[in-house]
């Protein structure tokens, strides 16, 4: 168990919509240790991207705290926050919109260093950019090319080089491989893991792909409609998952494995609703086959075994 680098305490992000308050992130408590990866899994609309953006302060939290090494960064003013941003960075899902099409690769990677003014002199800057490009497996000849000339995998490498430019300790990875082909996806995942080892990085890895999250994470949090419904160390979660949503999610993933072809499937009925003015009870209850009257009461995350938390009446 490492030392906590990032923690959220009762983090909430609500959006005002014409039909009511949308609870995109509702009372989320997570901890990410130095050099470790927390995988956040869930379907679209579960609030996983909003969580990442709220931690990065791209969105202002409605309530709660985000602690970086014990200090609440939500209280920071503009100047303190700007300094703070060298410690935490983000990489994005869409390699085609995450790079400014008017800037060359060199300029894109230089941009964070120019903004933070951490490198002085043109030569030193160029050297640093080339070092970053090497680190991310980008040949030097791309220095003066533009994003539209690169394919998705290489663009994602540029995004990673830009994130690493400020030497962060923590990176939010928002579905960084979802838009890539499998063979390219594997290259990027390997690169992420290599860099984590070299630089002792902590990742918050947001994805809907359970295979990928299992491969890369130390801890996994499963989210449903703004809440964490299950939270456990990786192997524990895959071996002993007990929330009915996790069960359904795991059985729905298609795997290239014929032995799983005739497995018992827990197909879910209906679709994910939206968390506008939600009832206090379990948000999964309407799709859950085990739902009882008790599920209408508010549920807390309960520890079922060491480090394994579940938000479900069944877990009592």
């Amino acid at each position: 168990m490492g030392t906590p680098l990032i923690e959220t305490r009762n983090l909430k992000k609500y959006f005002k919509t014409p039909s009511g308050l949308l609870h995109a992130v509702d009372d989320v408590n997570i901890t990410i240790n130095k050099g470790e990866t927390l995988g956040i899994v869930g379907e679209s609309g579960c609030g996983k991207s909003t969580l990442g953006r709220t931690i990065m302060r791209l969105l202002e939290a409605t309530d709660g705290e985000v602690l970086y090494e014990g200090e609440n960064i939500l209280k920071y003013n503009k100047r303190e926050m700007k300094k703070m941003r060298t410690n935490m960075q983000m990489i994005f899902q869409d390699p085609f919109t995450s790079l400014n099409p008017r800037l060359s690769i060199g300029e894109i990677i230089a941009e964070p260093m120019k903004v933070q003014k951490i490198i002085k002199g043109k030569e030193a800057m160029k050297e640093k950019i080339q070092e970053l490009m090497d680190m991310c497996g980008l040949p030097n000849r791309y220095y003066n090319t533009y994003p539209h000339e690169l394919d998705g995998g290489r663009r994602q490498r540029v995004g990673l080089a830009r994130a690493l430019a400020l030497n962060p300790k923590f990176i939010v990875c928002d579905e960084p491989v979802s838009a890539l082909d499998v063979s390219i996806q594997a290259q990027i995942i390997n690169l992420l893991m290599d860099l984590q080892e070299q630089k002792d990085l902590a990742y918050m890895f947001i994805t809907h792909d359970l295979c990928v999250v299992r491969h890369i994470s130390d801890y996994i949090a499963v989210m449903y409609l703004g809440q964490v419904v299950e939270y456990a160390p990786r192997n524990e979660l895959f071996a002993n998952h007990c929330h009915p949503y996790t069960v359904a999610l795991l059985s729905a993933i298609p795997t290239p494995d014929l032995s799983r072809r005739n497995r018992e499937r827990h197909l879910l009925q209906g679709e994910v609703g939206n968390p506008i003015n939600p009832e206090p009870g379990c948000r999964f209850a309407s799709r859950c086959k085990y739902a009882t009257e008790k599920c209408k009461e508010p549920q807390k995350l309960r520890e079922v075994s060491k480090g394994h938390f579940v938000r479900c009446v069944l877990a009592e």
């Binding site: 379907e43 679209s44 394919d151 998705g152 995998g153 082909d181 499998v182 063979s183 390219i184 996806q185 594997a186 290259q187 995942i189 390997n190 893991m193 809907h208 359970l210 295979c211 990928v212 299992r214 491969h215 890369i216 895959f238 359904a248 999610l249 059985s251 729905a252 993933i253 298609p254 795997t255 290239p256 494995d257 014929l258 799983r260 072809r261 499937r265 197909l267 879910l268 679709e271 994910v272």
Partner: protein, 327 residues
């Protein structure tokens, strides 16, 4: 074995752009029988969508061009067919389901009416009441209450829209269904629902189906036969058992398997395929995969390997030439 429905032979398709000729499909041959469920797997740019568009003859005018080969659908020569013939085929005999359920429906026409229109086109002799009945029927088949037929596409969720797309494709009871990444835009739990629905309906109507996807998992769980496409060619085909037994595969297929993190075993690192797919404007003369292949030999760079067939399993690779070695 069932009757042959679709036979594609040595198909070449290219796109003529301003700067260069893009060779999208390069000598692809494929046979599909009635009621067969074939999974077509490949990465971006492999030519999967181009193949579907060629079968429907919907390649973009002037840009896309079939340069060689034949497509024979149930005795009709698609390459030579005129527009009128194609209009009768599209929708009635061959239907397509698109990737994006958000954009493939007309936003200003109610869903019931859109399905109704398909019937108007292909069954002009049917009475209005019969058509209405059919619309209700197909909607309930795909799991949408018939009383929602006057709603507009934006009032449905993504999964529901894909159900409507399926209803539209199936209402004229086509013999062949082309599904182009039908579940890629959907969440896994919804994907599972849609795939199950498609399989049920496919069996009910005995429709042949080509499922185009990049997801080997979807193919393993859903299809009977698999064809792996690379650079506009089929480099391996066979039954799911042939391919997913993982005893004998084309080096590219092996690479694909190794790139996917496994749910049951622990690996420190994945083994990606090195390099990138060849530039479709400038293809290598030999095996298209040679540059990235760990077993590449001298002759792979010069000659196109033959399709080597054993039983139902075919692999386009020199490695399996005489002895049927192991990759």
């Amino acid at each position: 074995m069932a009757e042959k429905l679709l036979e594609i032979e040595n198909l070449h398709v290219q796109y003529n752009t301003d700067e260069a000729v893009v060779h999208a499909i390069n000598g692809l041959s494929l046979t599909l029988h009635k009621g067969e469920l074939l999974g077509l797997v490949g990465e971006t740019g492999a030519g999967k969508t181009t193949l579907a568009l060629s079968i429907l003859k919907l390649l973009p005018n002037q840009v896309g061009e079939i340069t060689k080969g034949s497509i024979n659908y149930d005795g009709i020569d698609i390459v030579a067919a005129d527009n009128r013939t194609m209009r009768d085929i599209r929708g009635a005999k061959i239907a397509m389901i698109f990737q994006d359920p958000m954009t493939s429906l007309n936003p200003i026409i109610s869903v019931g009416k859109q399905i109704h229109e398909v019937l108007d086109l292909h069954f002009p002799e049917m009475s209005k009441e019969e058509k209405e009945k059919k619309v209700d029927e197909i909607l309930s088949l795909v799991g949408i209450q018939a009383n929602r037929k006057d709603d507009y596409p934006h009032q449905f969720s993504g999964g529901m829209r894909q159900r409507i797309g399926i209803a539209m494709a199936l209402v004229a009871q086509p013999e062949l269904l082309l599904a182009d990444e039908p579940t890629t835009a959907l969440d896994v739990t919804i994907q599972a629902q849609i795939l199950q629905l498609m399989k049920q309906l496919q069996q009910k109507f005995n429709t042949a189906m080509i499922l185009i996807t990049h997801d080997l998992g979807v193919v393993a769980e859903f299809c009977e036969n698999v064809a792996v496409v690379y650079s506009g060619e089929i480099i391996e085909k066979g039954s799911v058992e042939d391919i997913f037994a993982r005893t004998k595969n084309h080096p590219y297929t092996v690479g694909l398997f190794n790139s996917i993190p496994d749910l049951t075993t622990d690996a420190d690192r994945l083994v990606p395929i090195p390099g990138f797919m060849p530039d479709p404007t400038n293809l290598p003369s030999g095996c298209k995969f040679a540059e990235r292949c760990p077993h590449c030999m001298e002759k792979c760079k010069e000659q196109v390997p033959p399709m080597i067939t054993k039983g139902t399993h075919s692999i386009k690779c020199f490695l399996f030439e005489e002895k049927g070695g192991n990759a």
